[in-house]
Symmetry: C2
Subunit: 453 residues, 2 copies
Amino acid sequence: MSDPVKYLLPEAALPSEWYNLVADLPVPPPPVLHPGTLQPVGPADLAPLFPEALIRQEVATERRIEIPEPVREIYRLWRPTPLYRARRLEKALGTPARIFYKYEGVSPAGSHKPNTAIPQAFYNKEAGTKRIATETGAGQWGSSLALAGAMFGIEIDVYMVKVSYHQKPYRRALMESYGARCVASPSTETNAGRAVLAANPDSPGSLGIAISEAVEIAASRDDTKYALGSVLNHVLLHQTVIGDEAIAQMDMAGAYPDVIVGCTGGGSNFAGIAFPFLGAKLRGGPDVRIVAVEPAACPTLTRGTYAYDFGDTAGLTPLTKMHTLGSTFVPPGFHAGGLRYHGMAPLVSHIKELGLIDAVAYRQTECFAAGLLFARNEGIVPAPEANHAVKGAIEEALKAKAEGKEKTILFCLSGHGHFDMGAYSEYFADRLMDLEYDEGALASALAVLPKVP
Amino acid sequence: MSDPVKYLLPEAALPSEWYNLVADLPVPPPPVLHPGTLQPVGPADLAPLFPEALIRQEVATERRIEIPEPVREIYRLWRPTPLYRARRLEKALGTPARIFYKYEGVSPAGSHKPNTAIPQAFYNKEAGTKRIATETGAGQWGSSLALAGAMFGIEIDVYMVKVSYHQKPYRRALMESYGARCVASPSTETNAGRAVLAANPDSPGSLGIAISEAVEIAASRDDTKYALGSVLNHVLLHQTVIGDEAIAQMDMAGAYPDVIVGCTGGGSNFAGIAFPFLGAKLRGGPDVRIVAVEPAACPTLTRGTYAYDFGDTAGLTPLTKMHTLGSTFVPPGFHAGGLRYHGMAPLVSHIKELGLIDAVAYRQTECFAAGLLFARNEGIVPAPEANHAVKGAIEEALKAKAEGKEKTILFCLSGHGHFDMGAYSEYFADRLMDLEYDEGALASALAVLPKVP
């Protein structure tokens, strides 16, 4: 019998609590501010958009928060997810490093997003919400919330960026398979959408516009709330099942990571894998280096400014302190759509400022090359977002080889690429370029950041 | 803690042997005949196409055949696969029946096909094969063999039916991700392809033409062999890991199936789930009813003739006794492409003749409706092929409800639908019709079956 390639936890080992990093931080994160008063927002400000339970989680300071049993019941359809030892990749690289990866692509939607979609739908159901409105770009989040809506009997309205709506009909069909309604944004259903269409009937849409539409619907209807798939504290909280399971599985493997690697767009899968390990370190546990990998074409952590900014393009959201390229910055249209966000989760930004994590940026072609090396050895074709984590892990493994060190590397493979094969087609046809952002546009976007004393 | 929804075997419980149903049959299956001499074929007849180890497995009579360790090493990337209890579906149906399903969609290619692609590539590698040529229609088999080629360092040339090559670029990209070469068939690379193109430059291709191209390449080159993804005995043999794992998992659940349901195209996933249970029954074990579900538009088992016929359209293969609609019969273009085959695996046909299994046929729209009910309760969106098994299982569960019986149902969910969302889009747009085959064409195809005394 060979050494194991994967470590599976029994269903009974599914975490019963989420882990809240805030409890272990040496410095609390800065408050979220009301854009009008510049005073910290209170629960009442957020009540039109989110159910009370999620608002409480957004500001929670306790270390552990119980996962409701109905949420665990749905989690168990695919969780605990497997932890793999990438033995074939190690051999291909000729590295003395041990490479482990936690695979979140086994969820029915193919990514880590259902980890938060399910509890968000549950708390909304408990609060009597009839409908949740949300936005989606490439569709990973929309399809995950659609799944969650089906599980709890909540209507889901997804405002999908119009250009993606037409370019990614398969993602749309997945949402519809779960019974969600998918609307091309800008739409005629909202003031925000109608205003955009009046000015430009051919608008291809943007995530900013889609957020405005979803928020408007939620704010204007008593039975409808809003949901976000990344960035917010409660979203990151829900993703910590990834890291807590990984701790138990690394233990099964008789190992502990020296380095943890995750890709960062809004920051949720990265937080999911990293926060439980970071918390253990902050409580006096083993040291671990944590590396956030972002796209060179949208380098929030490595090139952005740490400042108060809006979460959306239209400036409707509260102000959060985060690494940002400016809410008016439009990143070029590279294929890891899940990483095309102008800001970074405030909690991830905060720990970057505290020096608790490192950040690196890679270009998309080198990430696709890394993803293909991974696929041809480990079998799984990663999502373009996850290719960034693969690239980061491979770089760490090659560094270990150069140094002759037996390092242990853990990364999060956040999703499979079965809905993203169009991007791979482009890559094979040599049509996938390393897009550069416009330095002037970045400077302009940073110049108009909101003024907060 | 609620009752489990899934049953996971540890890696150590991965089967170490395949199960060969032939050893337990009361009557041996009829021989395969040479189309020229009408005499049973010998190993030498098959040697240009297959490595010796696979030819031996094709005619093996021993009950258990060892799975080579390098094959098990790759299997372990996704096996043992989970067995689920469909508790939410049961509740939605209000049935007293317990519904279990074995999920093969967790493989990197998303279906059960790698179970045989991996050993076929392994035995070819052992025999010194440099390249394997094969055909693919919708692309499930081609992408699975491409994966296997990447794992063992064998070049894979896939002749993909031209209309699918253009309609399903994502499947093609998946094959290319694994390093395979994908060629639109008919191509200019073979005599067979050139002949078709000379007669009709705009030919959309067919599975029959693609088989002819792949077989011609394999037969004419010393370093190249051929591989088939279903139908043959050795293919069915490799799939029995599904059923052997399921036996152990049903035991974990403290249950044994009263009914087993599988969808049938060529017959391989059906054989995989059913044969180990059938073998146990034939050796004096518990009784179990076995139901093969096929598409009403290609009703091989329910409307075909049991007779000697060619495996391909062009008449290049040996003659096998099977349920067939005639090798010249062209089924209508419904969306479960993996079930669009004019014949049935000889071994499945044989046990149907022996009265050991039942067969039913359903229309595609009722199968899509069943698949969506499943998706909205269990989370997984099934492949169109697998929807037939879902439909069959639901019908059994509703029968149990009508009869007030606590039946235990087990079915094989052979793959996920993430590459097939175009078919779901058609369904939502009411463009998916229940296609009828042409009765006259069927009669004509059956009238020209080869004459075997």
